[in-house]
């Protein structure tokens, strides 16, 4: 992960870079910046666990490195890391997703952002994980912040007032 820094309440904010995965528990906070990429958030509210994957492309086509970069490898790898953090397999997960924007004009056909969102939706459905919040599409970047203790996901844009809470 790219960096960590203290925030106002004393908790540590861990920044998740492009193609990376991060997990946190209790007071941990995860943050990432998204354009056409999709931020996948997996939460176990009862056990106060959170995982974030910064997904760049929908399909690894067999490459798979780093696993967070591709939807088809990021979903199982985030699950694996959360199970490792929990110490067992008994997780009750829900998902929230954000990103998938069309950042630049003159992109024709289905954008990479749309493909990323669809791939994540399909993979989560296959795992039986419900998406309980989403903030996707549009033509602007997003800052996504996840608090593991509460499961609150805040999505903000440049110039946006207040942001969206998922």
């Amino acid at each position: 992960m790219s960096e960590s820094q203290p925030c106002r309440n004393g908790a540590t904010v861990v920044s998740i870079g492009m193609g990376e995965i991060g997990v946190a528990r209790d007071g941990g906070t995860l943050r990432t910046f998204l354009g056409s990429c999709v931020g996948l958030v997996l939460l176990d509210r009862k056990r106060r666990l959170a995982g974030v994957a910064h997904i760049v492309l929908p399909d690894s086509r067999g490459q798979g490195q780093p696993p967070g970069k591709y939807a088809d490898t990021a979903v199982p790898e985030t699950l694996r890391r959360l199970k490792e953090l929990a110490g067992d397999d008994a997780l009750h997960l829900t998902a929230k997703i954000a990103g998938g924007a069309k950042m630049l004009p003159f992109q024709q056909g289905q954008t990479i952002g749309e493909q990323n969102v669809q791939a994540v939706e399909r993979l989560l459905a296959a795992e039986g994980i419900a998406i309980v919040g989403r903030c996707c599409g549009g033509e602007h970047g997003r800052r996504l912040v996840v608090e593991a203790a509460t499961g609150i996901v805040t999505v903000e844009t440049v110039g946006g007032a207040g942001g969206t809470v998922l």
């Binding site: 790219s2 492009m18 910046f33 354009g35 490459q63 950042m103 990479i112 970047g141 800052r143 440049v158």
Partner: protein, 202 residues
């Protein structure tokens, strides 16, 4: 179409930088220098944070170029330098522009147009006239003001499947001003061969 090589791209870009410097010096009414520093390959996460990271705001005026040596040409600044550049272009005293309205975006677009024309001329000179030469097709300039990682992520997306992103870094200085811009060219596809240490250096 085969991917370009780093050396060929550096030659074309140096020629474009010289022409753009001359045009912009006339346009801005003061010496302006664009110098190609390097054609380089960076890991994806470093490429997207090259011009800033985190909560900073990046203003990018860019242009897609199709044809021989296709890619994205992007002029990037922070708010202060970008608005100061607009003031300079519009003949206003520095500090007049305080936000990105239509006229300020137009000024940035015109600057990008000038640089884009210089790039197209350089590509045309490099390619020569031939029936097999793909036509050069520039897009109208577009303007994006957003988080640096979000904008750069979009620009380098055509190379996102590769391990490293090839891009060109330049110095862009306007004499007697504190305006600092970055000009980035990202080829549409990875280059055929890795850049040598001297590739593109001036």
């Amino acid at each position: 179409m085969p991917s370009p090589t780093a050396d060929r791209l550096a030659i074309v870009l140096r020629r474009a930088a010289d022409e753009a410097s001359a045009s912009l010096s006339k346009w801005l009414g003061r010496p302006t220098r664009i110098v190609v520093r390097e054609v380089t390959a960076l890991p994806l996460d470093r490429a997207v944070t090259m011009l800033g990271a985190g909560d900073a705001v990046l203003c990018v005026c860019g242009m897609h170029v199709a044809g021989a040596l296709p890619g994205v040409l992007a002029l990037a600044t922070d708010d202060a330098s970008g608005l100061a550049l607009a003031d300079l272009l519009l003949g206003r005293s520095c500090g007049t522009s305080t936000e990105w309205g239509e006229i300020e975006r137009s000024a940035a677009a015109e600057t990008t147009n000038i640089i884009g024309c210089a790039y197209l001329n350089a590509v045309a000179a490099d390619s020569g006239a031939s029936d097999e030469t793909p036509p050069l097709v520039p897009s109208p300039p577009w303007f994006v003001r957003d988080f640096p990682e979000a904008v750069m992520g979009g620009i380098v997306m055509t190379q996102a499947a590769a391990d490293a992103v090839f891009l060109t870094r330049t110095a862009f200085d306007i004499e007697d001003t504190a305006i600092r811009c970055s000009l980035v060219f990202v080829p549409q596809t990875p280059l055929q061969e890795g850049p040598t240490p001297s590739a593109g250096r001036t």
